[in-house]
């Protein structure tokens, strides 16, 4: 497909003469379809290898929401699976009960696991907590993401355990991670900044891994488009209430003007981490007086929350 008109001429920093589908502003590289796909997959493979996210014999369970990030995660892990010795893959989905949002994403999760022939388990908020998120949030929408976050964390742990996971993989991407770093800085929450960064080193829960942590949201979208796996899924109706939304817009503008901003935030975290050497996160290991789950205070966040629902 050598270009004959100006608009398809080979741009600078191309790896080949095929038309570019992605321009990495940070490195200046232009990538064609095939080069882009193999670039994303090999960077994920490198993250897994370099950080030892997955080891031989692991049962990796993907927290599959059916949205774009976890869909791409499943596709990429399925591609890399043959190179991961003795590793099994399965998926589980949480149904929080968000009307007008979850129905579509759950259907799309269902279709995906069927296509890849993976075991799929489901867990719902009514099963676990006796009601849907919609019911819990009536009149307290501004707290939506923190309430949902506490409930989801429990659901993720229960789901991973039921599925027999040795690793729980989530679809968090570079944008999510950079936003989290920034939000924890804005909140002055250094322990949380470090806790967020990797697998739970204290062995309290099944370790979480984020294989897409260096892949941007835009790259994920392009990856899905190129595989014909892009679906126009609705946005979570509660997301508008979150601080994350503001941080997301701010970082998007910064990244656009100053490519590499998000990676720099990740590097900042890595440097703080290296200097702190775990001393800030080593809170005394305690157990909730009510449910017995590991927690940092007297009573865990979930038990506190349950009293108010």
């Amino acid at each position: 497909m050598a270009g004959t008109v100006s608009s398809t001429k080979t741009p600078p920093w191309s790896l080949c003469t095929e038309p570019a589908v992605f321009h990495d502003k940070r490195t200046g590289r232009h990538l064609c379809r095939d080069h882009f796909i193999s670039d994303v997959e090999s960077r994920v493979a490198e993250t897994i290898r370099g950080r030892r996210l997955i080891v031989p014999g692991d049962h990796v369970v993907i927290a599959l929401s059916g949205g774009k990030d976890s869909t791409a995660l499943l596709m990429i892990l399925a591609r890399l699976l043959p190179a991961l010795e003795g590793v099994t893959l399965s998926a589980f989905t949480i149904d929080e009960g968000i009307h007008g949002y979850r129905e579509d994403t759950i259907r799309s999760a269902d279709e995906l696991v069927k296509k890849y022939r993976l075991t799929h388990t489901m867990i719902s908020f009514p099963d676990l907590f006796g009601g849907t998120l919609d019911v819990f949030l009536e009149g307290r929408e501004p707290e939506a993401c923190s309430i949902c976050g506490i409930l989801r964390r429990k659901a993720l742990n229960v789901g991973a355990e039921r599925a027999g996971a040795t690793k729980l993989a989530t679809g968090h991407n570079l944008d999510d991670e950079a936003q989290s770093v920034f939000m924890n800085v804005l909140r002055g929450d250094l322990p949380r900044l470090l806790r967020d960064s990797g697998s739970d080193s204290q062995g309290r829960f099944i370790p979480r891994i984020k294989p897409l942590m260096f892949i941007s949201e835009k790259e994920i979208a392009v990856y899905l488009m190129l595989h014909g796996a892009w679906a126009d899924l609705p946005e979570c109706p509660y997301a508008v209430h979150a601080l994350r939304g503001e941080v997301r817009r701010m970082l998007a503008v910064l990244e656009s003007k100053h490519p590499g901003t998000m990676l720099h935030l990740m590097e900042s975290r890595a440097q703080i981490e290296a200097h702190c050497d775990g001393s800030l996160v080593a809170e005394p290991m305690r157990h909730c007086a009510e449910c017995g789950d590991p927690c940092s205070g007297e009573i865990c966040q979930l038990c506190n929350l349950k009293k108010t629902l």
């Binding site: 608009s7 774009k68 990030d69 968090h172 835009k218 488009m225 946005e235 979570c236």
Partner: protein, 65 residues
């Protein structure tokens, strides 16, 4: 130029010929980081040049995982 917006509405717009993708999407009020652009069904980069006769689709990268 025929432009299909993220909400699927179609707009016909006069544009400079050729026009860089980035200039077009900023002109329409989007930030390049939040959208993808397809020309005649194929993804293009922000620095590609579009022709008056191209059919352009703008896809919003929705938030939420």
């Amino acid at each position: 130029m025929k432009i299909i917006l993220p909400d699927k509405t179609i707009r016909y717009q006069k544009v400079p010929n050729p026009v860089p993708v980035e200039a077009l999407i900023r002109d329409l009020g989007f930030d390049p980081i939040e959208v993808l652009v397809a020309r005649n069904g194929t993804l293009v980069t922000e620095d590609a040049l579009l022709e008056e006769s191209d059919e352009i689709r703008i896809i919003r990268i929705a938030h939420g995982g």
